[in-house]
Subunit: 462 residues, 2 copies
Amino acid sequence: MARAPPQSPPKIPVKQILVLGAGHSSAFLISHLLELASRRQWFVTVGDLDLDLARDRVAEHASGNAIHFDVNDELLRSAQIQNADVVVNMLPPAYQDLVAWDCVNHGRHMLSVSYQDQAVRDLDSDARKKGVLLLCELGLDPGIDHMSAMALIRRLHDRGGQVRGFRSYGSGIPAPDQPQNPLRYVVTWNPRNVVMSGEAGAQYMENGRIKIVPFHQVFHHTWEVEVDGIGTLEAYPNRDSLAYLDAFGLEGVETMVRGTLRYPGWSETWAQIVRLGLPNENLRIPGLAERSYREVVEMFLPLNITEARTSQRIARFLNISPTGRIMENLRWLGLFSDEPIGCEGETAAAMLIHLLERKLPLTDELRDVVVLVHELEVTYPNGERTPERVTSTMVSEGEAGGFTAMSRTVGLPTAAAVQLLLDGELSLTGCQIPTHPSIYEPVLREISAAGLKFTEKTEHME
Amino acid sequence: MARAPPQSPPKIPVKQILVLGAGHSSAFLISHLLELASRRQWFVTVGDLDLDLARDRVAEHASGNAIHFDVNDELLRSAQIQNADVVVNMLPPAYQDLVAWDCVNHGRHMLSVSYQDQAVRDLDSDARKKGVLLLCELGLDPGIDHMSAMALIRRLHDRGGQVRGFRSYGSGIPAPDQPQNPLRYVVTWNPRNVVMSGEAGAQYMENGRIKIVPFHQVFHHTWEVEVDGIGTLEAYPNRDSLAYLDAFGLEGVETMVRGTLRYPGWSETWAQIVRLGLPNENLRIPGLAERSYREVVEMFLPLNITEARTSQRIARFLNISPTGRIMENLRWLGLFSDEPIGCEGETAAAMLIHLLERKLPLTDELRDVVVLVHELEVTYPNGERTPERVTSTMVSEGEAGGFTAMSRTVGLPTAAAVQLLLDGELSLTGCQIPTHPSIYEPVLREISAAGLKFTEKTEHME
């Protein structure tokens, strides 16, 4: 691979940053790292399957280079990771362990915005032996949500408080004060993660009782959340909230919920898409691209429903109104269209991804907004204070035609962690998420300086 | 590892067979391979996490050895595979690619009774380069079903027939003429595969139309199948039937269904277990072993149902009769028990596995039976014959207290393939399933000689 030479003969060796994945969420990160690189002895290599996309992101910056990167090409993957001082993994979650494995193998640090998965956790002891840090969940949600929650919990503990209830919500949605599509949603990150959301089910704790929700129930299982400056949103449970009890030091808590926020109405529509069975990445449908959307949707209906039109048959099967809002949304999405699908991939999930990209794009006129809300119930055992409900909210809007709020809020903490690592200010090793003060304190300082601030509100209870 | 010395100084080098996994399905295979080994220059090493189980299977046979084998121990895995001439993989499906990877790496052949997965398919070209055979789906179902179907299809093609409809069913159930538990099922193979059955959904083709069934619908989606000598069974769709269109040379077919058979009533009960969400391997429930079954089942119920008893609450939630047969089955299984679960593992799926092992064991007094049925509709384009429905059925019973039919029908074809390979009579390489005549013809001859025979019936259709 040709690399641009550093601008002056370096006294300190140039630090190599390898960013894997140049999609939606990487835009701000890459631009920001390149900006930092031009003031430091850094060089940023951006790899993507789509070389043109990687080139667009690097934009011929003197401290950067774009390469074609196929994560399944073992030799290429290994060689690139070996060349790097730090690897920033922005690839889809399924590839995280491949990257982590090579990082451990070559003694390189990995930062990742995806959820830490079991395959990565299994590398913990090997990573420690090699002095390697595998730091996951470093974006917005998971990421800033963990860091801000930890800082808040720590402050409450320090003043003698005991957290009894922890509810934490995250979201990236269209900003409220602009024209909305019928689903009131736009795709600002990997649409695959929107399509497969909830696939592992969800669990949380409410008043001391664990609740488990299977995939086919997740989007039926919503509740209202008021957000200052946005209005009423709906929440559905986000994966395994209980996995964070230990990490957050909340073993004594009675309520522990992590939720995802949407505008009201998204979930009732998506629940029916899940009931139909469309979010399926396993079954390969022969000749998918040449078939029409309607033809594929028909495959999910029993043969014995005799209504003439697809939409009537679906309404009958799902027991929803054939003329109601949900059906209108399904129609608007294009699920009954006779057009050939013409997408890449071979599954019904691939078809949905293609549809969301076409029907729910963030156009240049639109702004997105990211929302993080923590709602904590705190008691003070020594009675020196009355119980409190502390609400901490971050709302950050994107720029129309510029960087999205999603890309910026994913990129800022990630870039801050790159900086900490390359400046030698992060001595943790092994498999981590950013719940340690040596990570979250400097990262929160950095992103706050860049304008990502939380507003805190305390109400006294009973 | 200490190895027993071969009985006489060998002129031909001893061929090393490594069998990984000594569970339910391996019992007959290991015994049979050891028997063959004592008449040949073979040596059989059996590895399992449970060394005692492996030792029991080898039973101090002079041509065999038992070892502790942890598939996640990379050094051990690599060393053992390197020592083998052929590796027989009987481990759970999730480990197939680890074993296949090392086999390709060391240039060793792998035989496996699991479904070929994408990770193994991805090794095809590397395996070919190394002259390695990765032969999957070599047991009963998948296995004998493919081989017998291929042989039948080939005979029909040879006499000018065109297959219009292909329905193929497989099952391992208790033999009919004996006392039955309420679910009329016993566990004769890895109970994990029973618990997670259907998790990827299923698809098939009926009269030219593809039908796709999501996990939460699979066990609602049953139909009756009459089996000679057994009676009426129920079928539910088995995974991706369409994946076999090409492999079976059935591109022109209008109906293509692979199904799993149970006694009527299993599916209506299991459908409710799936609706509750219990078959979940992702969400780890804190303190599972100390909790009671009832406590865990309660986690899957909404908080807002006010019925006093768990069973009433479940019936209300699922909208089934609180006093009907399904509820009786759920109670008999032990799902409302106040006993501590006390199982290994941390998920609701682990709890179900534990329950099935306790409540549905194949005791020494019971016999199992395996059933394979192919139903083919054949037309003859040149009109020289009337259209036919050809039914081909294999029914094989196990011995009470001896080998199960499941173990025998999984072991026989696998051992036959070992023999072909070690005798140098199998020259295929790469990733294969047994649809090539050089595999299925000799294997079918071998298992037929051992008594596994198909009965064929031809009906002339209008």
